[in-house]
Amino acid sequence: MSDNPFEVTKAVDFTDAQIAATWVDLPGGGFVTLADPKSPMPTFLVGGKGGGRTHLLRYFSYALQRLRHSEDLLAGVQADGYLGIYFRCEGLNSSRFAGKRQEAETWEAVFSYYTDIWLARLTVDLIADLRMTVPSQFDRDDLTGFAAAVLDLFDVDVTMSQDAGDPAHDLSATFERLQRDLDLAINNAALTHELDVRIGASPGRLVFGVPAAAARHLPALSGIVFAYLLDEFENLTIDQQRYVNTLLREKELPTTFLVGSRLFGLRTHATLSAGEENRQGSEFALVVLEDAYRAQSHQYGSFCSSIVLRRLHESGCEVGVRMRLDDFFEGPANDEQSLEERAALRVAEKTSQDPGTRPWLERLRQQLQASDHGYELSDVMSAVTFPKSPLHEKFAVFLLYRAWADGEELSGAAASVRVAVNGLLSGEEKSGKVATSYKHYRHDLYAQILNDLRLPQEYFGFREFVQMSGYLPRNLLVLLKQVTRWSLFLGEQPFRGDKVSLRAQREGVREASAWFLSDAKGLGRVGEETQFAIRRLASLFREMRFSDKPVEVSCSSFSTDRQGLSPAALNCLNEATSHSLILEVPNGRRDKNTHLLNHKYQLNPMLAPLFDLSSALRGSAVFTTADLNAIFDPAVSETQYEAVKRRILDRMKAPFFAKVPPQDAFKFE
């Protein structure tokens, strides 16, 4: 076993036993409340990479049922009420079904037949395995009847193999032969330019007919739902998806479907049934895993804890059920518990050579001198200086910038700021406007202090990692993988005695963040352009956060009505969303002026460490159409973008010369 319990982060890389060992159900009813393999309603399970679809579908599969019910398989299956027939669409090698001098219609027919044969074969194999495992529960005559009924589904005579002397296994061998013959014909079409295939059954007949025959002839399987678990649906072309959609539409009991796909992978809901489209709620249900996790965010946290504890347990670490995962990670020392204490210590460490020098004061001094406020310099500087509490001092400077931007007289404003901050320090001001403002901004101001002192931003603790994962559990595992790798590199023994150091956490999240940005990149030119737009957006958020007067707290989201966005910008925004670089917050955000419900988008918090942003979802900017086009439209030149960015940021930087254009305001909520 590797020293790193989080080395494997993809379910496809796990064996069945590992899937079972690392399985954790969703608190509060479990995953079946989201996707029930017994439900007669076909369900699409969609989401970003790493949401847990493959893990879930494989958990529902017969291979895992076999492991779970090793003592009495049939009783277990009957109690489950379903048989899970797992199938990765990638295995079809769907690109084979095109070209080679054949008509598109020909390939459509061959693909349908091939899919039917494969699904039927998987079902028959599964029944043969059950028969072998619990032979006493399957009467030979029943199996003979079942085999005959299955062969009857074909429109042509199919000779049954007689090698095994057992109807179930002979049927299994028959389907293997049929599939092999098809593979041979399809693969050689490239060489011969002929497709020597005879379609032996009507579309869908085998897919629904084999489970129906099993239910009819095999008493042990009576009342059992046959759930086709189709994973990686995004690997099918639009025509191929249309056929699967047709199967969903024309589904017959005791068959049902659970289909896993990436967000962008649902290319169509069209069917071959007279051009009808499947409709959500009518022909299928749609579950977006991230949205489901987000809707129960408190349960997502405990779900994540369970996943991690299970991993640690499986890797031999001593963990109790009630173990607090935060205890495995180093946090601030006892004398650094509060942000104020940490700020004071960081400043003391970094300015030990010259205790009077603090970059934010020096910057303010230069800004005042460079503007018309030089005559007020002395009064203003002494009013905002609080050497004993750098965080309060930073807040005082921030309040002064606010007054400056509002055009107030600075000496007077500085005096008011001093009174207000003194009130905070003395404890007299606890719940007023100033106290609320301080409470909201203190984390960003602390981040500014670190930035001014050229110190890395701080990301630590299990809760922060969960927050950073953006409701994709794999992101959490990747974070922990990188953090653990760093911990091991630093010579620590993570989860086996040593706490994971702050340095390992900081470096690990940074590495995971960089990985995410490259991993989530789409293919081709649009993937490049989207990545570029994300860098623009994230860098803009960063500059806003470290500006003199950030107008929003920890801004990493924005809302828009999407009206007026150029097609290219919309395409780029959609691409970013479908690849989870940007998360669309369900239910959006209501515009304060028009009261219309806007779309709300959050930069994936996995990217926060790479751009020194907060991983929390707090402030939200309302960008104008022009701003969003400048960020997302790849046709907008760097010069044009820089002009837009400067306009946005000038309003946040002293001496606050920029004016808000009345019709094209950069509004903040």
Binding site: R454, R485, W486, L488, F489, L490, G491, E507, E511
Partner: protein
């Protein structure tokens, strides 16, 4: 970019190398222990020395066992098998009769003996084990030096132990200065050639290495008595850390300079190995193998011998075999 940023970036790079290529060598505590050798006495300050040292460490080319096995396959295929087959085909008038060529190659192979360069405690001999495994060669093709002859080379009745012997191939990991090949020409190779001459035998002697510096190979070719000198990979002048075209300083990070680095490496190297502060014959390589570190590599990286308190980043183990 500040010195701290450069330092952090270099450590990140070394971590990646350690995990992916260096078989786990040089974890952070090892790096810290090695960096503590540099105390600032040979430059303006400690931070400068340590930053330059870190850059050298991050530039080391390490070949793990997996890579060495692949290289040994390449050595047999490219430096031995293909040239012989080319020759055989030419002899047969350019035919493509694979069965005939294969049979003749088998015969040539059977008339070959592979020997490790240096004594049994050195890396050349150590590599033979993997060379044999990777190329699926019979054990009979590998002999000790003393097994080549029936008796002492000076004995009047001496002959080669194998009556059909056609060639002897000496194998080593690195030809740095070419010195060893020249030394062999004056000792063992001279004796073997004398015996061959006395017995009117036509024998071919080859010297094959995984890596060879351009200058080392040139010297081996011109000054040694081998019929063939060849390397899987030639290390040109850019591999000399302080050469004019050094790849290590082609685009160094901010705050890192070749001249400063050389002053530091030479000063500390002089304390460790006064004769060759930049490695044997001024090799100034940054090369390390799974089984050992060549002495042509900068001593500040591998030195961990004698009375001096010096912690190596890649300890050289001269007598472990």
């Amino acid at each position: 970019m500040t010195a701290e940023t450069t330092h952090d970036d270099l450590v990140r790079r070394i971590k990646t190398l350690s995990e992916r290529l260096w078989e786990g060598h040089c974890k952070a505590p090892d790096i810290d222990a090695w960096l503590s050798n540099f105390d600032g006495r040979h430059s303006t300050d400690l931070a400068t020395e340590q930053l330059h040292a870190l850059h050298l460490l991050a530039s080391v080319s390490y070949f793990g066992l997996r890579e060495l096995r692949v290289l040994l396959r390449a050595m047999f295929r490219d430096c031995f098998r293909y040239p012989i087959i080319q020759h055989l085909r030419a002899d047969l008038g350019g035919v493509c009769d694979t069965a005939e060529i294969q049979a003749r190659f088998a015969s040539e192979l059977a008339a070959t003996r592979f020997i490790g360069m240096g004594n049994p405690a050195e890396s050349g001999t150590h590599l033979l084990y993997y060379f044999r495994q990777e190329n699926r060669l019979p054990r009979t093709l590998f002999v000790h030096q003393h097994e080549l002859l029936t008796s002492a080379a000076t004995d009047s009745t001496v002959d080669f132990a194998d009556a059909n012997l056609k060639r002897v191939v000496f194998i080593d990991d690195l030809c740095g200065s070419g010195e060893q090949s020249v030394r062999y020409s004056r000792t063992l190779l001279r004796d073997l050639r004398n015996v061959a001459s006395r017995r009117s035998r036509k024998l071919e002697f080859q010297y094959l290495v995984l890596f060879g510096t351009t200058s080392g190979l040139a010297r081996a070719k011109s000054e040694s008595d081998f019929d063939l000198v060849d390397a899987v990979s030639e290390l040109d002048e850019t591999y000399h850390t302080y050469g004019v075209n050094s790849r290590v300083f082609r685009k160094p990070p901010d705050g890192i300079g070749k001249d400063v680095s050389e002053v530091i490496a030479r000063a500390y190297g002089s304390e460790l190995w006064p004769a060759w502060p930049l490695g044997y014959d001024d090799g100034a390589l940054l090369l390390a193998f799974h089984h050992n570190v060549p002495d042509n590599t900068l001593p500040i990286l591998w030195y961990e011998e004698g009375q001096l308190l010096w912690t190596a980043a890649f300890p050289r183990r001269p007598k472990i075999y």
